[in-house]
């Protein structure tokens, strides 16, 4: 495959490949961002 | 021996309380009846006897499952009033005796409901059972035990939770999926006579195994749940 055929949306199979690869990154990235947001909004303990 | 006496005491207490009010049996009975009526209206069982036979097992168990959830939600309410549960926790009797007594009591309530519901169900759905109907006398109690033992346990688990009426089905339904599969398959096998007896036997054995495993786990972990904080 090339970038050109990766973004070839003509058949259902090709569309689904893009959905899978984009969706996995979006889901995992969103979860990581959610953790990071919470991390930033809970202040650590002062010592 | 004393353990059995403790179980018996808890059981008799629950039965006496239920006999005085008859709240949960009446509620369950009417609720299950309504589910059966609604399913009857939705699927039109009279015109399609073969399809009815295939789906009747599933409808029966779904009705019983939902009905028993409504009753199990109330099962521990009596213990909450007047801090009875705190007294139970301090009692020298083992916690699992309380659990088992409660399970057997709920089991009896649901069995009464089933005994009334089964003939009504057969009438409303025009069921002509093709298989060995006496096997149902084995499948129904085993399946009921699977629902009740987990339901009682999870009702106690969610007892102090916010919106516990919602929490019980959320916990009970996923856990009872294997049991539900086995009892629906076995019941449908008996109703349609499509499965051979070896397959029905396997489903019944699985159901029995499920009952044994989850009763054991429930007995072992109940004390932890009772003294959760």
């Amino acid at each position: 495959m090339t970038w050109h055929s990766f973004f070839d949306f003509s058949t259902m199979g090709h569309r689904h490949i893009v959905f899978v690869y984009a969706g996995v990154w979006i889901a995992q990235g969103a979860y990581l961002a959610w953790i990071a947001w919470n991390w930033a909004h809970i202040k650590g303990i002062r010592r | 021996m004393t353990y059995l006496r403790h179980i018996l005491d808890h059981l008799l207490k629950d039965l006496r309380l239920e006999w005085r009010s008859r709240d949960s049996i009446n509620g369950m009975l009417f609720f299950a009846l309504l589910v059966v009526v609604i399913c009857g209206l939705a699927f039109d069982p009279t015109s399609y006897p073969t399809t009815t036979r295939q789906i009747a097992g599933g409808i029966l168990w779904v009705a019983l499952l939902f009905a028993s959830i409504t009753a199990l939600n109330q099962a521990w309410n009596r213990e909450l009033r007047n801090q009875v549960l705190e007294a139970q926790r301090m009692a020298p009797a083992p916690a699992s005796a309380l659990f088992l007594g409660k399970v057997i009591a709920n089991m009896l309530f649901v069995l009464v409901v089933e005994a009334v519901l089964a003939p009504i169900f057969i009438i409303f759905f025009n069921l002509h059972v093709l298989g060995n109907i006496w096997l149902l006398a084995l499948i129904l109690p085993l399946g009921t035990w699977a629902l009740v033992v987990n339901g009682t346990f999870f009702a106690a688990l969610g007892l102090r939770a916010r919106n516990r009426e919602l929490l019980l089905p959320l916990l009970l339904l996923p856990i009872s999926l294997p049991a539900l599969l086995a009892m629906v398959q076995a019941t449908t096998g008996v109703l349609t006579a499509d499965l051979d007896s070896i397959q029905i036997n396997t489903w019944i054995k699985q159901l029995a195994g499920y009952d044994i495993i989850f009763t054991t786990v429930g007995i072992l972990l109940f004390e932890t749940v009772l003294n959760a904080e």
């Binding site: 495959m1 090339t2 055929s5 990766f6 058949t11 259902m12 199979g13 090709h14 689904h16 490949i17 959905f19 899978v20 690869y21 969706g23 996995v24 889901a27 995992q28 979860y31 990581l32 953790i35 990071a36 919470n38 991390w39 809970i42 202040k43 650590g44 303990i45 010592r47 | 987990n150 688990l157 969610g158 102090r160 939770a161 916010r162 919106n163 516990r164 919602l166 929490l167 959320l170 916990l171 996923p174 856990i175 999926l177 294997p178 599969l181 086995a182 398959q185 699985q206 499920y210 495993i213 989850f214 786990v217 972990l221 932890t224 749940v225 959760a228 904080e229």
Partner: protein, 244 residues
């Protein structure tokens, strides 16, 4: 703790960088380098993201179970250790929901072009769905539980879930099966060695990513617990100062 934090932080950033690099290599292998599969064509490339999530989604529940058992063991004996175990249990449960959810979604997106249906009620799919449902209900239980009981109640449910999933898997296995047999392991059909680089790079990448987010989530939960403890301590100190 103070000396450990900067080192830990740089290790975490390094780990994050390596993980991203491995995932990029995995992506390149899966999409551009590995040849297309003979019968299914390019659709089969979904497999390289589907398999790691499926396999890892079965590993994190074990982390959750072990942490839950450790919590139940330490609950009375050593409450501070128990809190740590509880934090690990939450982290593992959330990552399980994420990985199994992705596995289900990618599986559906693959099943539609390959089988013609989105979903089949077969052994693997149903038990994977049940696993997902159980861990969602685990997280809901923790949310709804009163303060201080979430750990215990969740740990008990985790034990139930650990027993339930194998049962449902075995009970459906001989009932219906459409999903292809596992490709690895004793009964595996095997994979053409030409596909190995894509599989192994993605496996390694998502494993590293999973460890990263699980430990990050664990650290977040620890931070939350410590902040709560400190707030409680302040409240006690404040209440001691008022009278006299």
């Amino acid at each position: 703790m103070e000396q450990r934090t900067p080192t830990l932080r740089s290790v975490a950033w390094l780990w994050f960088g390596i993980t991203i690099a491995v995932l990029v290599v995995g992506f390149r292998q899966a999409i551009f380098l590995v040849p297309a599969e003979a019968t299914m064509g390019d659709v089969q490339r979904i497999f390289y993201y589907h398999l790691p999530h499926a396999v890892l989604g079965l590993i994190f529940p074990y982390v959750n179970l072990i942490a839950s058992l450790a919590f139940l063991f330490w609950r009375r004996r050593d409450p501070l250790n128990a809190l740590t175990a509880d934090a690990l249990a939450v982290a593992a449960a959330e990552v399980t929901v994420l990985y199994v959810g992705i596995c289900l979604a990618t599986g559906m997106l693959w099943g539609k072009p390959a089988w013609g249906i989105w979903w089949a009620w077969d052994a693997r799919l149903t038990s994977e769905l049940l696993l997902w449902l159980l861990y969602v209900s685990y997280l809901l239980l923790r949310r709804y539980s009163p303060t201080g009981q979430a750990g215990t109640l969740g740990a008990v449910l985790s034990v139930f879930a650990a027993i339930d999933v194998p049962i449902v898997y075995m009970s459906i296995q001989w009932w219906r099966t459409q999903h292809p047999a596992p490709v690895f392991g004793p009964n595996g059909g095997g994979v053409d060695p030409r596909f190995y680089p894509a599989i192994l790079w993605n496996m390694a990448g998502w494993l590293m990513w999973g460890i990263l987010i699980m430990l990050f989530r664990f650290a977040l939960e620890r931070r939350r617990q410590l902040a709560e403890q400190e707030a409680a301590l302040h409240a006690i100190e404040a209440s001691l100062e008022i009278p006299q």
